[in-house]
């Protein structure tokens, strides 16, 4: 897949960073505002996909990228399960329960473990969507050869 024109490349470079930051904002405020891990993760994946579309897949080593994103995804989802198991081992010994201080409601550092779950789910969703996208790109390249 070839890249697009210089204007598109430049604009997407400018915009991608902002989209990425917005995704992080959505994830971090998951317990306060609408959105959360899934929505934020999809936005972050969108930032990467925008760049790949603008610069073309020829700028990438696709196999390596897929391995990277799928590993990130697996590590993130593993962390979610480990967090759930940690609840079982600590405190009142219940799966998926909260074991961190709850903080003051409405502030960023509150709601116990929920922000941690949101962060890892965000990474997981971003990794998964990127993996699917890259797999489709690889499929297209291989079938057009």
């Amino acid at each position: 897949m070839e890249g697009m024109s210089t204007i598109v490349k430049k604009v997407s470079q400018l915009v991608a960073g902002i989209i990425f930051m917005y995704g992080i904002y959505i994830i971090l405020h998951g317990h306060l505002t609408p959105g959360g891990g899934f929505a934020g993760g999809a936005i972050i994946a969108g930032a990467f996909i925008l760049l790949i579309l603008a610069f073309g897949s020829s700028a990438l080593n696709l196999k390596k990228e897929v391995a990277g994103s799928s590993n990130t995804e697996s590590v993130a989802i593993l962390m979610v399960v480990i967090l759930a198991i940690m609840s079982l081992l600590m405190g009142i010994k219940v799966f998926f329960t909260n074991f961190l201080p709850k903080g003051e409601p409405g502030t960023l550092l509150s709601a116990g473990v929920i922000p941690l779950y949101n962060i890892f789910i965000g990474i997981e969703v971003a990794g998964a969507i990127l993996t699917i996208f890259l797999a489709l790109v690889i499929f297209k390249e291989e079938s057009s050869k």
Binding site: A67, S74, V75, I92
Partner: protein, 512 residues
């Protein structure tokens, strides 16, 4: 609360993701971790089975216990019926995985196979344990989506086509199920199975719930491949790698299809005569038509797949008769017999159909064909495969002293006691047809004169494969012991009680 219950889902999930990460770095890691996981799960299931003793445990995820009689959180429920299913799932899973150790070595991307296998087990354990409808749906999708990928694992033309067909029909089924769940949520304002039962007990509009029940029967009927909904099963089960066929036919259609249907219709909905008639007649139709379709197959695995449909027909028919007898109310011993026979046949079918698919896998492994006409004379060359498949065939056709005989006998006796003479006759006739097509399988695969390839060069399959087959064949004999009243009293009775005393499920769960 019993801390082991959530681990039935968590442990296979962890090992699935560990396999994906570490499988690339450490050579042979997945071959070691996946069987170990299943072994641990099996030991846990057996421990729960021995310690449960007729009681039921509920587990509130995150400690979210209901407030003022409203269960707000996610509940996992372990009772006599689900613990029996857990034992079957993890046992067949372990055996199929041990078999895969040498069978799957010819494929690339081995690590992905083991990871998906762990996911399918995690999903099924979740379905069996889940105490609310929406979680049940999520776990169902986890296991079914991994099975789509596993069916297509060979990435050949037929595999992809079968997987696509399976995905389309499976997606349709999921949509029907989700629609039914949302309709139930709309009317009852809850998705907790026990709570829904309590709401329904207070009174409900019948026509609305008949619609919901029909949606659920079509949705889970598609997952369980009861006859008008069976189109995907022969393709999917015959194109998958053989250990996966054993998993799909042996436990997946039971765990995500039959088990859920039984659980919902006994413990959630109030019995109604029309729905019971529908369930019974669907069972009878699949039993008869499935066996007739199996008779004309020449592909070994298609034959086994159609025979799965037919045997599941027996189970569904037994449960349908159980509901009808409970509704009549004057003949509870026959109802207990019918339900017990259904559960017993379900366990037996998992064992012998798993074994038969492993046999078919061994034939395919050595001969590279599934066509019966290209086989023959293999009884000398492959003694283990031949003997074990003979035992499984006799077992599924209902020849004493194998387990299939006793479970079919119990179902037929229950039908006669409940005065369903037509059903009893049909069950006997289908059993004879089953014997016919399994004798055809035996004759053309093992006892005929050799056709095509030279048989002399063919050797017995490697140790992991033959060991798994021998283990299941021994189990085929050992499960006959369940027909002894004192044994079935301890093993099957808790599961039957859960279904007979259907009110207990809702009252004990809300009472925590």
């Amino acid at each position: 609360m019993d801390a082991l219950i959530p681990l039935f889902v968590a442990i296979p999930l962890i090992s699935a993701f560990l396999i994906i990460i570490l499988g690339k770095l450490v050579k042979g890691f997945h071959r070691f971790l996946a069987p170990l996981t299943l072994l641990v799960l099996l030991i846990m299931a057996l421990y729960e089975f021995t310690s449960l003793g007729g009681t039921s445990h509920t587990y509130a995820m995150g400690g979210w216990i209901g407030d003022g009689g409203f269960p707000v959180g996610i509940f996992l429920v372990l009772d006599g019926f689900s613990v029996l299913m857990l034992c079957i799932i993890n046992l067949i899973g372990l055996v199929a995985l041990f078999y895969s150790l040498s069978y799957i070595a010819k494929y690339t991307a081995e690590a992905n196979y083991y990871a998906l296998f762990c996911l399918i087990v995690a999903g099924m354990n979740g379905v069996v344990l889940s105490g609310d409808l929406f979680n049940l749906f999520v776990f169902l999708e986890v296991s079914v989506i991994s099975s789509y990928a596993l069916v297509a694992f060979g990435v050949g033309k037929t595999e992809l086509e079968a997987s696509f067909k399976y995905q389309v029909l499976g997606g349709l089924a999921s949509m029907l199920i989700l629609l039914a769940i949302s309709l139930i949520y709309w009317k009852t304002k809850t998705v907790n199975i026990a709570d829904i039962r309590n709401v329904l007990d207070a009174g409900y509009s019948k026509s609305f719930y008949v619609f919901v029940q029909v949606l659920l029967i079509s949705g889970f009927g598609l997952k369980a491949a009861i006859i008008p909904f069976h189109a995907w099963l022969p393709d999917a089960h015959s194109s998958a790698p053989s250990p996966i066929s054993a998993m799909l036919s042996g436990v997946l259609i039971k765990a995500v299809g039959i088990y859920v249907l039984i659980r919902l219709f006994f413990n959630m909905f109030v019995f109604s005569h029309e729905i019971a008639m529908v369930i019974t007649s669907l069972g009878v139709i699949s039993m008869v038509v499935g066996s007739l379709l199996a008779l004309i197959q020449w592909d070994v695995k298609r034959l086994l797949a159609y025979s799965s449909i037919s045997q599941m027909g027996y189970v569904v028919m037994a449960f349908g008769m159980g509901i009808l007898l409970l509704l009549k109310g004057d003949n509870e011993p026959a109802a207990i017999l019918a339900i017990g026979g259904g559960i017993y046949h379900m366990i037996n079918h998992a064992v012998f159909k798993g074994l038969l698919f492993l046999n078919a896998g061994s034939l395919e492994y050595r001969l590279d064909t599934r066509n019966l006409k290209e086989m023959g004379g293999l009884s000398k060359a492959m003694p283990v495969t031949s003997t074990t498949s003979f035992m499984a065939s006799m077992s599924i056709s209902g020849i004493p002293p194998f387990n299939g005989f006793f479970s079919k006998l119990i179902i037929i006796v229950a039908a006669i006691n409940g005065r369903f003479y037509l059903l009893a006759t049909l069950a006997v006739i289908v059993s004879i047809i089953t014997l016919a097509y399994f004798l055809k399988f035996q004759r053309f695969a093992f006892f005929n004169k050799a056709a095509g390839k030279a048989v002399q060069k063919i050797k017995e399959v490697p140790f992991p494969m033959s060991f798994s087959m021998i283990f299941l064949a021994v189990l085929c004999l050992a499960l006959s012991l369940l027909a002894i009243p004192s044994v079935s009293e301890t093993v099957l009775r808790p599961a039957i009680d859960v279904l007979i005393q259907f009110e207990l499920y809702s009252t004990t769960l809300i009472g925590i």
